[in-house]
Amino acid sequence: MQASRLPAYVDILVIPLLNLLTALFVAGIIIAIIGENPFTALSIMLKGAFIYKGGLGYTLFYTTNFIFTGLAVAVAFHAMLFNIGGEGQAAMGGLGIGLVALGLGGILPVPIVILLAIIGSAIFGAIWGVIPGYLQAKRGSHIVITTIMFNFIASSIMIWLLAGLLMAPNQMSPETVSFADGVMLFKIHQILNSMGFSVARSPLNLSFVLALLCCFAVWVLIWRTRFGYRIRATGFSTKASAYGGYRPEWIIILVMAISGGLAGMMAVNEILGVQHRVILNFTSGYGFTGIAVALMGRNHPVGIIFASLLFGALYQGGAELDFEFQTITRDMVIMIQGLIILFSGALAYMFNPFLERIFLANKGQKEPENG
């Protein structure tokens, strides 16, 4: 990725905003074509995401998923690794939770089971990240290819287990039995209600807090530890990393472990927070969207929180659109999400030449004053 010559605030604020507006503009045209008012649609989306009863809770619930997968992509990216395997790592994280909760639930005290389940999700996700990392570092297999392949392997393993060994007896659906009583994370609305605030029901749970903690931890790791320094050094220049004696191949392996672990913890939100059993396909594309989230958030935890909030709002507000308009279906919402991913992900730097012309032209005018 080439270094931008634009001022930092343009890179962090103006470009993502411009990309977002472009996506919304194109989506608006399409909504107008099918005969609805795009502005009404936008206002319903916003209300659905933030104002309607429970809307904010749902938005933040989805946000939590995106934070985990977005962080996973970002951490790997600081070592110049494209971890496309968030989907598979999250699925394996779910398996980790399931094994701990089903194996130890009812035997150990509930808080300890929950803690171990969270650790289990991270470890299982980490393993699913380390293998491609090892293959990249020691065997030169490209991380993009292997992580994609590992998504399919994880998916197959989950089907095999949930339709076989782990399937709850005497039923038809591919899922495990529910976890023991209490092996779940508290819902935020329960906590707030018990404190006297009246808050609508939503699946938002303590995983949200965990996600924010992870954001802080990632920030500390990347910008405040010596290991993070080595990660960034390796990402920018493998040669300089070798000169420093950092062993780039070990950095790659460890970074992929951390990245996989973060993606794996997405399962905490879905499995431990809501489902209380392991189901199939609970990852439903969050792993992939994490790539767009990281890209839009410029691989910085703060940026990722905002990008996750945007995507969370889209998910929730989009559901509301589907509900309110007969002509706008779920597919239309997916299309809008697709446009945003397209413009803020794949075409993230589309406006750069244009903006550079504007900002550098201004600079050019200023220079005579200085000189």
Binding site: R224, T225, R230, A233, S237, K239, Y243, G244, G245
Partner: protein
Amino acid sequence: MLDKINKVKREHIIKNGDESSPFAISLIDICKSFGPVQANDAISLDVTRGTIHGIIGENGAGKSTLMSIIYGFYQPDSGMIKVAGTPASFKQPSEAISLGIGMVHQHFMLVPNFTALENIILGSEGKKGLKSGLYAARKKLKELSQTYGLEVDLDSITEDLPVGIQQRIEILKALYRGAKVLILDEPTGVLTPQETERLFEILNALKSEGVTILLITHKLHEVMAITDVVSVMRQGKLVAHTKTKETNSEWLAEQMVGRSVLVNIQYPKGNPKHIALSAEKVSVTDKRGFDSLKNVSFDLHAGEILGIAGISGNGQSELLSVLSGIIQPAAGQFKIAEELFDATHHADPQKVRQLGVAHVPEDRHAEGLILQFQAFESAILGYEKSPNLGVKLLTDPNVNRTYCAQLMESFDVRPQNPTLLSSQFSGGNQQKLILAREISSMPKVLLVGQPTRGVDIGAIEFIHNTLISMRDSGCAIIVVSVELEEILSLSDRIMVMNAGEVVGTVNKQDATKPMLGKMMAGMSLNVAEKGV
């Protein structure tokens, strides 16, 4: 009407060449720069038809850029190219080849799993079916290979063939497209001596059939062996141009490396003490299986500067990399502070650093700094665990910034701003920052590669004085430099390397430039001395 005549003339030239012009290619005032780097500076050159013309120069002298302009890969910023006396401008290589200019790249541009024949006709398969094209090509190639002695089994898979044969495929590829001028970029770099000999036979055969050959190389003996005319490039300029018969390799070596450094102070000799580092028969084999370092042995004493002279690419870089633990020796051993390293007991940069070895790498941009890092981050590369920066679990950017500001202050790095990106400093200031980082660790051994390459004159003096004062305080220093003046000015002893081997070691007071030039060309010390 005039256009039509020109067109007819042009077509004639394409077919037969303009018989009236003695020059296959003429370059007039060619300039090309990449950002601030002037790769080619007003190059004018005539290449006589049917000769082998050598272009020599060190890495980065601008040879490859010039050739890329001739075969249409780059466009010059200004200046003119004439092909057989007619002005020409190429927007892409296909236009150059249509005027008979073919390129044989250093790294072959072949599809590994194609047959030789398929590779040769790739891109000019003919408009009809592939089969008839292949048939016609086979016939034409048979003639070509018989004329020039370029035997290639057209049906073997390319990747199974030895590199020498792959190179012949590249040459055939160019000839098949009607090349009358062949550019060869470092053609012998990947060849064995026998293959090289065979290549030279082929080149002579091509020459006798009227093909013009441009040979880019930095190997002097090859230039002497095969070329008719030789041009020397240095720092983007054409500095010498002569008939090969009328010159010798020592003079050429001097032309290649003998830059005029303004700072040329004769520093007083050092006071060598105990041995700080010793190497015994260290050899390095690179990924392609070539021995880039062969049986290198020497002792380095505390309080002396050992200068390593040589034309770049003769093993000096590998020597620094081995001693600093970045690459591992294939054989031999070296000792730092009583610790012995060899092919089984590996050194690594961290361990070597702990033993008191600091390393200013040759390649500032790729190794010495991280250009995307702020200066205060680059200022701790390799030393981020140093107790100077605090011993807490988490790092404190303020501490690092303050530390960097101190380094900048004491080494006069300008601008004195630790938060600027490393890429925003000039070459001299980047080098001072690296020196500051390495010297502040109080090293016992200091390895320095190209201390003043791309550094402005003001900084050169500062860097030299710093190295001398380090030496006087008892540090053992190795300086690798392609600038003879610098080596002569700084060193107490001078070790000359050629083709990965130590040619000889001389004391400063016995060394002269012509003698070192001869040694750099591969002559042994005794022979070189006789000539003086």
